[in-house]
């Protein structure tokens, strides 16, 4: 799996697929039993590369005896900023994540969503080139999610590489240049969201209008689904023109023709089901 510089990469997978494990490996929290990984050309064992990386852990928890401002000031010390720089950065980051008025409250009094915001602030505090976010939308209300989405888009605009895991597929579709899907600890696919789901076209959909009393179109109407005043007919791609001819002959009015693309969610569910089926097959053959 490769993530290019300046890319927003969504790492998708069901619970227990290995998303957080992969991220923890990259951050040196756990160690790999095999294989290797590099970030910005440095081995993940090189601690100095962390100067250019920001990381938001999943469901972050910080020192509850510190205030948000103290926590950010503490973390800023590891990047060698002087007191004035730390003060300026801390204030800027708190404002960016919408916590400027809560900066002097101890973290023990913070809600889950507020902790998530502090986590995001500490991840981008030092203006890193690469930002790794583990479930950044988790625990946030719709407004919070929207704000995090805006921050990710801003990071993208600034040319930063953003790698984040998520369950929320619509976020991935909106934010990501590329996604990777991991299921059962194995990477199942990497590519542009439309690319990886578009690999398997599900045929064509013809939307048409026809008179319900017209006997000529009765047969084709029976094959279609009624949707409001229109009918939706799904046909394989190679049968498109014959279906259009048939509709034309019955006097139906064609409103639109579109390729049926599976959504990222459908693709994702398909992979999960495939993995479960494989696991079940292995279990049966094992028995």
């Amino acid at each position: 799996m490769q993530v290019e510089e300046g890319e927003a990469f969504g790492f998708l997978g069901p619970n227990g697929a290995g998303k957080s494990t992969t991220i923890k490996l990259l951050m040196g929290i756990i160690f790999p039993t095999a294989g290797s990984a590099k970030i910005l050309g440095h081995s993940i064992t090189d601690v100095e590369m962390h100067k250019d990386i920001g990381y938001l852990p999943e469901q972050p928890y910080f020192y509850d005896y510190l205030t948000a401002a103290e926590l950010l000031d503490y973390f800023a010390r590891f990047y060698g900023f002087n007191a004035a720089e730390r003060k300026e950065r801390v204030a800027r980051m708190l404002k960016k994540v919408g916590l400027e008025t809560a900066g002097k409250i101890q973290l023990r009094k913070y809600s889950k969503g507020m902790l998530q915001r502090v986590g995001l602030a500490q991840a981008i505090l030092h203006d890193p080139k690469v930002v790794i976010l583990d479930e950044p939308m988790s625990g946030l209300d719709p407004i919070g999610r929207h704000e995090v989405r805006d921050i990710i888009l801003e990071l993208k605009r600034e040319g930063k590489t953003v790698f984040f895991s998520t369950h929320i597929l619509t976020d991935a579709e909106v934010l990501c240049d590329k996604v990777g899907v991991i299921v059962g600890g194995k990477l199942q696919g990497v590519g542009r969201p439309d690319e990886i789901v578009g690999m398997k076209s599900q045929g064509m959909e013809i939307l048409f209008e026809a008179d319900a009393a017209d006997a000529r179109s009765a047969a084709i109407r029976a094959k279609a689904n009624k949707s409001g005043s229109r009918y939706a007919l799904r046909v394989p791609e190679d049968s498109l023109y014959s279906a259009l001819d048939e509709l034309h002959a019955t006097g139906a009015k064609i409103a639109s023709v579109a390729q049926i693309k599976p959504t990222l969610e459908e693709y994702f569910l398909h992979l999960v089901e495939k993995d479960r089926a494989q696991a079940a097959a292995i279990e049966v053959s094992g028995k």
């Binding site: 951050m27 005896y65 510190l66 973390f75 590891f78």
Partner: protein, 258 residues
């Protein structure tokens, strides 16, 4: 160095905010009660009683903090996952450990210094004056602090690979063993067998030797403590802490966090 200092300062701040220093109130009350009581009895043993009681309290309170806070230094950060965000910063695991060690030793130093002030105030109350001979009490306090630094290093080491409860038991066990090293070395071959005697002898050199740090009796009686012992104990504590922390770093650097 900046990174170690940052971790150390945060550890100190955590201890202060977790009300670790509240023990000083207990110590102050103990010293006040002892001074008033001794002042009333006045049998010419005021200094001995105050110094013995004071140093014992400094040692016991310090030990409780060193062991119970020490074993939680790393494990608490692992359990609460506060370590995740920290280890993603440009900080090495050994730097984190040394910082944690430094932070607790700083806490103990402040705590011990405050208790020493209390002890001298109590001495002043019963003796009405202080003389140069009382400086030996300062040396005794310094030795207690060195001993506590070793205990912190040990509790850190154990907490890197075992549960908090076991780490407390191991540290307390080693502390007690370290108080009786000469007995261990002097076990006669006829009582334990020659092989065991050799084994005990070797083990006794690995265990921390806390006997040399106990100068409470000398301090209570105002006997001078040789400079060579101060130098020896200082070097011993630095070396022992260094070795234990190096071991802890090796263990912790390879540990997968949950």
């Amino acid at each position: 160095m900046t990174r170690i200092a940052a971790v150390a300062w945060n550890t100190f701040r955590e201890a202060v905010r977790d009300r670790v220093l509240y023990n000083l109130v207990f110590f102050a009350l103990l010293m006040i009660a002892a001074a008033i009581l001794v002042g009333q009895i006045s049998l010419g043993i005021e200094t001995i009683v105050i110094v013995s009681l004071g140093l014992s309290a400094v040692s016991i309170i310090g030990l409780l903090i060193a062991v119970f806070t020490g074993v939680g230094l790393v494990s608490k950060e692992m359990d609460k996952r506060t370590l995740y965000a920290l280890l993603a910063k440009p900080v090495r695991r050994w730097e984190f450990l040394v910082g944690k060690f430094g932070g607790l030793v700083l806490t103990l130093t402040v705590n011990t210094a405050a208790m020493a002030v209390g002890l001298f105030l109590a001495l002043l109350f019963v003796k009405h004056s202080l003389d140069r001979g009382d400086a030996v009490v300062l040396v005794a306090v310094y030795f207690i602090l060195l001993k506590l630094a070793i205990v912190v290093a040990l509790s850190l080491l154990f907490s890197c690979f075992t549960s908090q409860l076991l780490a407390i038991l191991f540290t307390a066990g080693l502390y007690v063993a370290g108080l009786f090293l000469s007995e261990m070395r002097n076990l006669s071959g006829s009582r334990v067998g020659p092989m065991m005697q050799i084994l005990f002898s070797w083990v006794s050199y690995l265990l921390p030797n806390f006997e040399n740090f106990n100068v409470m009796a000398a301090a209570a009686h105002g006997k001078a403590i040789p400079g060579i012992l101060i130098l020896h104990n200082t070097l011993y504590a630095i070396l022992y802490c260094g070795i234990v922390l190096a071991g802890a770093s090796v263990v912790f650097s390879r540990r997968n966090l949950k």
